[in-house]
């Protein structure tokens, strides 16, 4: 059968969502950011809330997220995305408000804002991309960098005596009474992408319930920062990141998941 017979509008099974702009993503080849951008926008598309959603971009590689997402967006100073989102949500309680933050933004300079927004139980959604490194500035050590992991500021690997332990911010905020849904996912295989999308959809739908904050952490690769090819970095992530950052739901409907 000729390909031209298959490529017809009635046979279409998958295309890029129209909630993304036509601009080419500024991320490195193989970066998980692009996939998560698409998942968030597919969720917005499926829920039919394109005109009712407000995003807050952070500082980091995702600083230009407003260029790629065809929705109302703003951009906050470093780490302050949850504080800005709190203000927006309190002015417009019926809008869907989400922040899109990396680990350098959410888990380092924004720790205070993040923990207090979670503790207050703001009805917002946080999409948290954890690649264990400061990606945009050149691969420096982040609070989430694993022990022994090499970065440009820890060329011999992170040592606990000198740099302390990595922080599991997602487990930390799951302990707070204000969070309603906390989950950790990844986007490196088709199965994981579909699970991550389900989690992101749940996190957006929870805003209607007004029962607290939903946070979805995506463990992602940073192949440029880790100095690997995209395929190698995904393998490295499976072998090294997942034992420390195990995937799965951590808190569902306000109750911690027992493991």
């Amino acid at each position: 059968m000729d390909l031209k017979e298959i490529i017809k509008p009635e046979n279409l099974v998958y295309k890029r969502t129209e909630c993304l702009t036509d601009k080419t993503l500024s991320y490195c080849p193989g970066c998980g950011h692009g996939t998560v951008h698409r998942l968030v926008m597919e969720t917005v598309d499926e829920l039919g809330i394109q005109s009712d959603v407000i995003g807050v971009a952070s500082v980091g590689c995702s600083v230009l997220a407003y260029d790629f997402m065809d929705i109302d967006m703003t951009q906050s100073p470093h780490g302050r995305a949850t504080a800005v989102a709190t203000g927006i949500k309190r002015c417009w309680p019926d809008k869907f408000v989400f922040t899109y933050q990396g680990d350098g933004d959410l888990a380092a300079i924004g720790t205070g804002e993040t923990i207090h927004a979670c503790n207050r139980g703001e009805n917002i959604t946080i999409i948290f991309i954890n690649n264990g490194i400061y990606g945009m500035t050149g691969g420096q050590m982040a609070p989430t960098t694993l022990l022994g992991m090499k970065s440009s500021t820890t060329p011999y690997g992170r040592e606990v005596e000198l740099m302390g332990n990595p922080i599991k911010i997602t487990e930390l905020v799951a302990q707070l009474a204000g969070t309603y849904f906390v989950s950790r996912q990844s986007v490196h295989t088709p199965g994981n992408v579909r699970k991550a999308k389900k989690a992101i959809k749940t996190a957006f739908e929870n805003q209607k319930l007004k029962k607290g904050l939903s946070l979805v952490e995506i463990v992602s690769n940073c192949n440029s920062g880790w100095k690997m090819t995209p395929v190698e970095s995904n393998k490295w992530m499976e072998e090294n990141m997942f034992p420390f950052y195990p995937l799965g739901d951590i808190k569902v409907e306000g109750q911690l998941v027992q493991k």
Binding site: M1, L3, E5, I6, I7, K8, N11, L12, V13, Y14, K15, R16, T17, L20, T24, L25, Y27, C28, P29, G30, C31, G32, H33, G34, T35, R38, V187, H188, T189, P190, V193, R194, T229, P230, V231, N234
Partner: protein, 75 residues
């Protein structure tokens, strides 16, 4: 049993040649080893074995840049 036939359309200019779709494809349909590059110099992906494609959409689901559009037909 009905057989599924698929086809993948590549947005050549958006492709960054990261190869994530190539390792994901269960049928080994995709490749980017041709000498051709797009205007940014990336070796873009193309269908090497179009007859094997089942239109499972796995390649498009993992593509970070939304390069791939998938069509499927039952024959």
């Amino acid at each position: 049993m009905a057989k599924l036939k698929g086809a993948v359309v590549v947005d050549v200019e958006r492709c960054k040649g990261c190869e994530l779709c190539i390792v994901t494809c269960p049928q080994k349909v995709l490749a980017n080893k041709a000498a051709k590059v797009n205007s940014k110099g990336y070796h873009y992906v193309y269908m090497e074995n179009p007859d094997d494609c089942t239109g499972c959409t796995n390649c498009a689901v993992v593509c970070p840049d939304g390069v791939l559009t998938v069509y499927r037909i039952k024959i």
